[in-house]
């Protein structure tokens, strides 16, 4: 028995907008165009090499695939049109991230981390900073950026407002004339090995803990910047997580984003946007795993019937589908809010990410149980997605950090819970 088409859906926007089913969401033509472009890139350029990228040495980086993605416009999604970009927001970014992540979340993150660095510059609203750091992305040679928050000493201190006064061993910035001198170590910085510049968060000397947290744009070819070893990770292997060491790195004061001691605010805005993209990315991982499993159970015959008609398999598929649909609806709503509310909301992105990261692991795990030994073999691509599914729980807020944000939002207005 063949699967019918078009399939029923709650959240597949191309099908819904084609008029098959009504939707609360109407995505613009520009977002749909970007989705199509990202889909084509993922299926035609990325899919044939995704496993090769995954199995390469930890420090290997494939510029060829980045160049192809850049040709498709994926490195300039959020760059305003006047700087040569596509002028899109969180929603378009998230939709593109899901499409790429369904094939390889690791490559999606190369683009995502760059957009994150760009977002920091844009949040500052300084036209000279924009003019100095954004137009390069409009050229035909890919340029990457990075965002450096995680400290050597403590990964999440800078993400928790209450921890800022007591944070220790935070990367420091000492004023020196019209410059600042940065010292410290940042860990697991995606694109740190290959980016042109990074948004680096450092505490200005004289402020206790991290209360003087400030965002600096630091060109990574500056004297005193050392790009360290690449982390040999379980998943997300195509993107490089690197240690960045800053030793007396002089950065001009005009490289500050949003003013001195305003870094925590920038992080918050940036993180709320980024969490939507990561939720979309995890949704993509789940969708990718579901797609692989669907192909298998549609053709694999057991007891004379395709696997999907067996009750146990059907139950798994139904739950996997429900999770993917719910996750997508959550991130779409959060993305819409993030694009239309200032300052960006905390609750929606945190909920979307918490859920998406969780179901990515569950759906990938169930997909493997449906495929059995074949799922465990590399050639089907599912084993890679299972490993990848664990990654998003770690960056841009662990479930525990997200829980703190969500609980704070729940009780912010009604401390007694009513």
């Amino acid at each position: 028995m063949a699967l019918v088409s078009p399939q029923p859906t709650l959240s597949d926007q191309p099908l819904l907008t084609a008029g098959v089913l009504p939707s609360l969401f109407t995505l613009s033509d520009e977002v749909e165009t970007l989705r199509h472009v990202a889909h084509e890139f993922a299926r035609n350029d990325l899919a044939p090499v995704a496993l090769k990228l995954d199995l390469a040495d930890a420090a290997d980086f494939n510029w060829e695939i980045v160049e192809k993605g850049h040709e498709a416009g994926l490195l300039r999604v959020v760059i305003p049109r006047e700087y040569g970009g596509l002028g899109q927001g969180v929603l378009a970014t998230a939709v593109a991230m899901e499409e790429i992540a369904a094939v390889d979340p690791s490559t999606a993150l190369i683009f995502g981390a760059t957009l994150l660095g760009q977002t920091a510059v844009l949040l500052g609203g300084d036209p000279r900073l924009n003019a100095r750091f954004l137009p390069a992305f409009a050229g035909d040679t890919p340029v990457l950026a990075a965002n450096a928050i995680t400290e050597e000493a403590a990964g999440s201190d800078l993400l928790i407002q209450e921890n800022l006064p007591v944070a220790q061993d935070v990367t420091s910035a000492r004023p020196d004339g019209d410059h600042f001198v940065i010292n410290g170590i940042k860990r697991f910085i995606t694109n740190g090995k290959v980016a042109d510049w990074a948004c680096v968060y450092a505490n200005v000397e004289g402020y206790p803990g991290a209360t003087g947290l400030t965002a600096f744009i630091v060109p990574l070819d500056s004297p005193g910047v050392e790009r360290g070893e690449v982390a040999d990770k379980m998943g997300y292997r195509a993107c490089l997580g690197t240690t960045l060491t800053f030793t007396d790195v002089r950065v001009p004061a005009e490289n500050i984003i949003g003013g001195i001691a305003n870094g925590a605010h920038i992080i918050q805005l940036q993180t709320n946007q980024a969490r939507v993209s990561v939720a979309a990315l995890s949704t993509g991982v789940a969708q990718g795993a579901l797609d692989i499993a669907k192909k298998w159970v549609a053709t694999r015959v057991q007891g004379g019937m395709p696997l999907w008609t067996h009750q146990f398999s059907a139950r798994k598929l139904a739950e996997m589908s429900a999770k993917v649909e719910a996750s997508r609806l959550l991130y779409l709503q959060a993305a819409y809010q993030a694009d239309n509310v200032l300052p960006g909301p905390t609750y929606g992105p945190a909920i979307a990410k918490l859920y998406a990261d969780q179901i990515a692991m569950e759906v990938a795990n169930e997909a493997m149980s449906l495929m059995g030994a074949r799922g465990y073999c590399r050639e089907y691509g599912l084993e890679k997605l299972v490993r990848d599914s664990f990654g998003a729980r770690i960056y841009e807020g662990t479930p525990e950090i997200l829980a703190l944000d969500i609980a704070r939002e729940l009780f912010q207005h009604t401390p007694d819970g009513d």
């Binding site: 040709e71 137009p135 050229g139 040679t141």
Partner: protein, 315 residues
């Protein structure tokens, strides 16, 4: 009708801070990374008026309205950065307005043709020249029409070229093209071969584009220094006339005012675009010079061309 302004008194006081200098340095550095490799790609091919290659450089001529905005920005950034390096721009205005490209870029696509020479390997622009044409709505007027829009060089020199140097038959405005922004990447200067090859590409681009325009390209005008562009133009155009004794200036509010303050000897010129047999010979000579790998040979081919005497008119 275009108004001609009178010069104002004093240049504005310049306050260049270290931050100011760093900004300019960053804008220059960033432009050096901008690649336009994709301009040679298949999807762009249908838009080109012409394209030519040698083993290192490629030149594309493309109408402004057919150039994707992203590339128009890159072209405009190149123009700005080269003018910055020549000190032909008001750097204070560049800093104050956070410019990284010329400010008019992209507002309304005009009738210009961009002739862009790029390095095939890096995709960076090494040479550029624009052919500026008046907007289509005024192209049918005769150049003798007192109400016609003036060309930029006429505004700067406060002269109506075709009144000073009448020609017969009187061309339509749409048959006149102004050569603008003839620039090479400053780093070319140290490499004589690259500099010469780029110049040949630029002139090949200009005349191949003019040839493609056919009857819509009869006269070439502009302003330049006698020993630079005018000297080069002599080898290609016919009936070159130079007007002496103008006093070119731009008001100090204009971003480009230093271009006429730092350069002396900038003269307006006009020349007939070669046609038919003349044009075929010119394009053939340029092609031979382009294909030659020997710098001396390139120069010899151009010097052997029949060169008209320059007609000079004093105001």
């Amino acid at each position: 009708m275009t108004t001609i302004l009178a010069p104002t008194a004093q240049p504005p006081a310049s306050t260049v801070t270290p931050a100011h200098a760093r900004y300019i340095a960053d804008v220059l550095r960033q432009e050096e990374k901008l690649s336009l490799k994709g301009i040679l790609s298949a999807p762009m091919r249908d838009r080109h008026i012409c394209v030519m290659h040698d083993d290192q450089l490629s030149t594309v001529a493309v109408r402004d309205d057919l150039l994707p905005f992203r590339y128009r920005l890159a072209v405009s950034a190149f123009r700005l950065t080269q003018y910055l390096q020549l000190s032909w721009l008001d750097t204070t205005a560049v800093f104050d307005n956070a410019l990284f490209h010329e400010p008019d870029c992209g507002r309304v696509p005009d009738n210009s043709v961009h002739v862009i020479t790029i390095d095939q390997r890096s995709g960076t622009i090494v040479g550029y020249v624009a052919l500026f044409g008046q907007k289509a709505t005024s192209s049918a007027s005769l150049v003798s029409d007192p109400m016609r829009d003036l060309f930029p060089c006429e505004l700067v020199h406060r002269v109506r070229l075709f009144d000073v140097l009448p020609v017969d038959p009187i061309p339509r405005v749409g048959q006149v093209w102004e050569v603008k922004r003839l620039v090479q990447r400053s780093s070319n200067v140290s490499d004589r071969y690259l500099k010469m090859a780029t110049t040949l590409h630029q002139f090949s681009g200009i005349f191949t584009a003019l040839n493609a325009l056919g009857d819509d390209a009869r006269w070439l005008i502009g302003d330049a220094q006698e020993h630079v562009a005018i000297k080069q133009l002599r080898m290609t155009v016919r009936e070159l006339s130079v007007i002496e004794g103008t006093n070119p200036f731009l008001p100090f509010e204009d971003l480009y005012w230093p271009a006429y303050a730092v350069r002396k000897d900038v003269k307006p010129f006009m020349a007939r675009v070669p046609h038919d047999e003349e044009m075929a010979t010119l394009l053939s000579d340029l092609r031979r010079a382009l294909d030659s790998r020997n710098l001396g040979e390139k120069l010899r081919i151009l010097k052997n061309r029949t060169i008209d005497e320059v007609r000079r008119v004093s105001l």
